[in-house]
């Protein structure tokens, strides 16, 4: 930015001075702008936990709550139907279904339902269940006390397990203007193969060694709640 042409001495002097000032000012501007860029990247990353927390707090997207059942909570008058839905991701060779189609209960009552999963492949597999409720707006009122979805499940070849979920629907659901007309809630699970299959690999090594000491394939096993 060296000046080659002069119009008048005083003017050039002013401009040169400006240029020096300008350089440091440019640097400062760039630093401030870079800070903006990095904070936006940070925000993008922060969105992941924030989004999850937001969903859990508000029940957004049908995210359910984890709760301890409070005996003193009130029970609503009208009963509500909870429908059970089961899905298996295409990449997981399991069968998975609810053992009851639906349960009718009153908001505020605790209930337990069972799901049944069978490993139809010839090797042990670790599965994880993801879940939500529909309609989404009832998510904040749907409380799980115990659920197989809280932990990973390992199934041996041919093994069938029955898995419980204990839950209650918050009785304040009938007080919410938005949700009081809801008479059916669908609780849906989808089983995925876990990314971490190390437990299954360990098991398959063991099962090769001591085939008989493990549950017989095909035998149904019930995971006890609690």
């Amino acid at each position: 930015m060296k000046l080659k042409k002069q119009r008048s001495a005083s003017r050039v002097g002013a401009v040169v001075l400006n240029t020096e000032k300008e350089n440091s000012r440019n640097g400062l501007t760039a630093v401030v702008l870079s800070f903006l860029v990095f904070s936006m990247i940070g925000l993008a990353y922060a969105s992941e936990p924030l989004y999850r927390i937001f969903c859990q707090v508000t029940g957004y997207g049908g995210t359910t709550r984890i709760a301890v059942f409070d005996n003193k909570s009130s029970v609503a008058e009208n009963s509500i139907t909870v429908r059970f839905d089961a899905n298996v991701n295409k990449l997981l060779p399991w069968r998975f279904k609810p053992m009851q189609n639906k349960i009718i209960l009153k908001p505020g009552e605790q209930a337990m339902a069972f799901y049944e999963a069978t490993n139809v492949s010839d090797k042990p597999i670790v599965g994880t269940a993801v879940f939500n409720v529909a309609p989404f707006k009832v998510g904040e009122y749907f409380n799980k006390i115990e659920c197989f979805c809280f932990t990973e499940q390992v199934l041996l070849p041919g093994q069938t397990v029955q898995m419980p979920v204990t839950f209650f629907v918050d009785s304040s659901i009938v007080e919410d203007r938005n949700t009081k007309e809801v008479n059916t809630i669908t609780l849906s699970y989808t089983f995925y193969a876990s990314d971490d299959q190390s437990e299954a690999e360990n098991l398959s090594k063991i099962s090769l060694k001591m085939k008989k000491s493990i549950n017989n394939p095909g035998e149904t096993q019930i995971i006890q709640p609690g």
Binding site: N71, V75, R83, D85, Q100, N101, A113
Partner: protein
């Protein structure tokens, strides 16, 4: 000042004449809208609605459509006027006008008013679509690469897959890329809750005549509802890019009378009897009340 009001009145005249003109021409075209539950050649407007939701969508859209065509014609008209009146030959001396507060307020306020006129029915429609009154049955839709699975949880919980009929097997009279081997059958005039999910990637279950379009997202259940008021067969297509055969996973819904639906259920239950048992296991189910 005089000039401004002159300009305003000119614009107003232009606007009103254009709007009435456009409405007239659209009404003329209106009569040609075909009535079918499937797309027809050279169709330029919506498919004939088969649900109250779609009827309301079209009704609200018509309101916006007329106003919007009016706006486009207004701008076009002003541009034609400018080309004629303000080209350098016709108007060698440009004016110096760069401000006109009245005009600027006007073209801020009028759009706001138009938007409010749109927003009211828009919200009404949105909240109407949201809530089913009292669904009598449930249909579960599962998207797969590249077919749909349908399940009737309230009617025996049987499930079947619905695959496209490939081009080479299409018989005369059938619609290429829209026909499937197993149509999903629904009763007419029945509020039906629709649950949607997917087993692999995202798909989207869409039937234009129903005004239904809902993403099926793996690992998540979505819910909507439909009430079809006309008996017939309705077609739709997957509406979310889902991979190689995205164009080849059509949706065909056969809407029948309630009696015919019962008959179909009986047949379907045996035809699609699943390997899984359907009995409701009361096993270990308990209620704990206060």
């Amino acid at each position: 000042m005089k000039k401004n009001s002159n300009l305003l009145s000119k614009i107003y005249q232009k606007f009103s004449s254009l709007v009435s003109l456009s409405v007239a021409s659209i009404c003329l075209l209106w009569t040609q809208v075909s009535h079918a539950a499937e797309p027809t050649p050279w169709q330029w407007y919506f498919q004939s609605p088969a649900t109250p939701v779609m009827e309301q969508i079209i009704e609200f859209h018509n309101l916006m459509f007329f106003v919007e065509v009016g706006i486009v014609l207004l701008v076009l008209g002003l541009m034609v006027y400018i080309v004629v009146k303000f080209n350098s030959k016709a108007n060698p001396e440009p004016t110096k006008t760069t401000h006109n507060t009245a005009l600027e307020v006007l073209w801020t306020v009028i759009p706001i008013v138009i938007l409010i006129v749109f927003a009211v029915p828009s919200m009404k429609l949105l909240f109407f679509m949201e809530k089913a009154q009292n669904p009598e049955m449930t249909l579960k839709v599962t998207g797969n690469q590249w077919y749909w699975s349908y399940q009737y949880p309230d009617n025996g919980n049987f499930e079947f897959d619905s695959n496209i009929i490939p081009d080479e097997d299409i018989k005369p009279g059938q619609r290429r890329l829209l026909e499937v081997d197993n149509q999903v059958v629904l009763p007419v005039n029945t509020e039906i809750k629709v649950l949607l999910t997917a087993r692999d990637v995202m798909h989207n279950w869409a039937v234009p005549a129903f005004g239904i379009k809902m993403d099926t997202i793996p690992g998540r259940i979505n819910e909507t509802w439909v009430k079809v008021t006309k008996i017939g067969t309705y077609y739709g297509q997957c509406s979310e890019l889902c991979g190689v055969a995205h164009s080849r996973m059509p949706i065909a819904v056969k809407v029948v009378s309630k009696e015919d639906f019962k008959k179909w259920l009986k047949k379907a239950k045996s035809e699609f009897a699943s390997s899984d048992d359907n009995e409701v296991l009361k096993l270990a189910q308990f209620k704990k009340s206060k």
